[in-house]
Assembly symmetry: none
């Protein structure tokens, strides 16, 4: 048991880095902190990762893949009902990002992580999500439940941008939101989704 835990330095470093980012924010991540928190020498980090960027890159890929899996599940739960699928994707978003905005920063495949160069894996992890969403929207357009006067890509970007925006809002202003609206965040999010889905429907 202990050997299992002890040996997975790679995972330990990744998890520690993630923890620090969750607690202090993405730009507060430093190799020093990771080493200290992981109880590992600074040099050890570089046995497992080429650079700090590589750690962030790996974390990003991991997050995106996890998110993709959530999206896929969401889609599978509502076969042949594209609108419900999109709605479920949004909820999966909320679920995934629930506690921390970090994941939104990390995952946002449309968003640049400053200075982080796109490796093939990184790019692919982004495209995979993109394709899934676009696919659902196109399916909806073919089934004539989603308006066809807007291209699927645009809708996909809008959906992603607004979702991430809502995540940020919730992460940074949750208190504010609940106080003013006298409603819970999921409740408000529910409204957001309804409005969004509603606007997608063919009239």
């Amino acid at each position: 048991m202990s050997s299992e835990v002890a040996k997975d330095k790679y995972g330990l470093i990744l998890r520690t880095a993630e923890q620090i980012m969750l607690e202090e924010g993405m730009d507060q991540l430093s190799m020093n902190k990771v080493a200290r928190a992981a109880q590992v020498a600074k040099g050890t980090l570089y046995l497992y990762f080429d650079s700090k960027e590589a750690i962030i890159g790996e974390l990003t890929i991991k997050s995106r893949r996890k998110l993709l899996r959530h999206f896929q599940q969401a889609v599978q739960q509502h076969p042949e009902q594209p609108l419900k699928q999109l709605s479920a994707i949004c909820w999966a978003c909320l679920e995934f990002f629930k506690n921390e905005v970090l994941y939104a920063d990390l995952v946002s495949f449309y968003e640049a992580n400053t200075g982080l160069q796109e490796t093939p894996d990184l790019l692919q992890s982004s495209l995979d999500i993109s394709e899934l969403v676009i696919g659902v929207i196109q399916d909806g357009q073919e089934r004539q439940v989603i308006r066809q006067d807007v291209d699927a890509a645009s809708l996909s970007f809008i959906m992603w941008g607004t979702n991430v925006g809502m995540m940020h809002l919730f992460a940074s202003k949750s208190h504010h939101v609940t106080e003013y609206t006298k409603r819970g965040l999921p409740d408000v999010f529910q409204t957001f989704i309804e409005l969004f889905i509603d606007s997608l429907k063919v009239k």
Copy 2:
């Protein structure tokens, strides 16, 4: 007289810092650069501001107030037409953020960095914007052009969250967006607004 000079220096520092941020980006701001560019000693900066963070905080307030003014103008241009007012507010948003990513970072900086404390002024600058938007929405609800089944505060937050989300999307992935959609950003934004405004209308 001396207070006037002092106030000037306060403003000078602020303006200089803003200039640097606009030219080089938020993370390139350093007290050294500010002091040099403002032709002021480094120590002097600390007579007027407690910390670098305080400067950024003030700039954030300034930015939000500027944004508020733009929103107010947008509202005034379409008297008694709440939907057009909201639409104009969104466009003002885009306009405001268009050229300078800085403002997007600045306006949402404290929102995105949960670790930083919101000062009362900072909070107020945010509330002022909220109130304006809420007012417009409530007006629309009273005039029965905006659906009444959702409270104005919720709609206001959704509008703010999604708008900022779109700004971030554009700021960080404009290339992606234009490449994938084969459309210009304003064009995509136009779609976003249409969908959003449409979803607000009473059916």
Copy 3:
């Protein structure tokens, strides 16, 4: 007194760096060591010098200028006698480098300090020495006391290369040399100069 000493941080840093180089060799110089030895914070070094390279650059220029002055004096002491001037220049070399080979590394205007980019000042300090020596040789050729079948530049390079070579030899093998020859270094150097000067003479 103490204020005079204390205030000359620039000189202090330079002198400290020189000391470290003399004691441990050029490649053993580190900003850490300089800071520690000079009893100054690491950051302070960068108030006075842009980089470690800049320190070495300044030291190089200083050394070259000092050497040039020695050369000039050597030349002045033997007006209109080029061979004696060259001989005196060689002796000045020995005198200058007496204790430490560092100066040979530092000063060698024909030699590259790895990675040290030539600033105008650095280049000029090199050219000044070059010109002096070449001038003396050309003078000797015009006066027909130095052989004219070899160009002055070549002779200048040979003189410099062999002199620096002798300095390195003495610095690294003084014990060896004295033991094998049963002579003092100046004595051996005297022979070196005689041979060299002799070989320059017109036959």
Copy 4:
């Protein structure tokens, strides 16, 4: 058998280190690179060598021995003609150092870095060269083609010092030399040798 394998590994490490130094320069040698290139574990290096320095020391000895062999060949090619032998030794020097700065660094590395300890082997490798040259000079003095007013040891050191000096000059400033003299390095070296040999002759 096992000793044979062990010896192979010893040689393998040495050859690998030399290769790296030849390709990337002396300061680019790292134990990591050696281990990787030799396909040997890092720890294994320390079974055969006490330290990185020890490797460099051994390489220095190897280089000096190789140089000695070149010198011996040079001597053999001109039997009973000491001046030609010395001249040939100098050319062998140039030839040896020509393509690779490494050898110049290596041969004179421990000479230039006073802080490093000379092991007996290291010293001997140096003495061997000295002795060869001294022998040739003494032969010349006995044959009365080399001046007898200077002891052979002194001449030997002068020859070594000036030769190494010329090598360093060429290695570090070849561009300067060729540009200023408008001659090729071998050409300039030829002049150096002529002057030197000339100065050795009995008058």
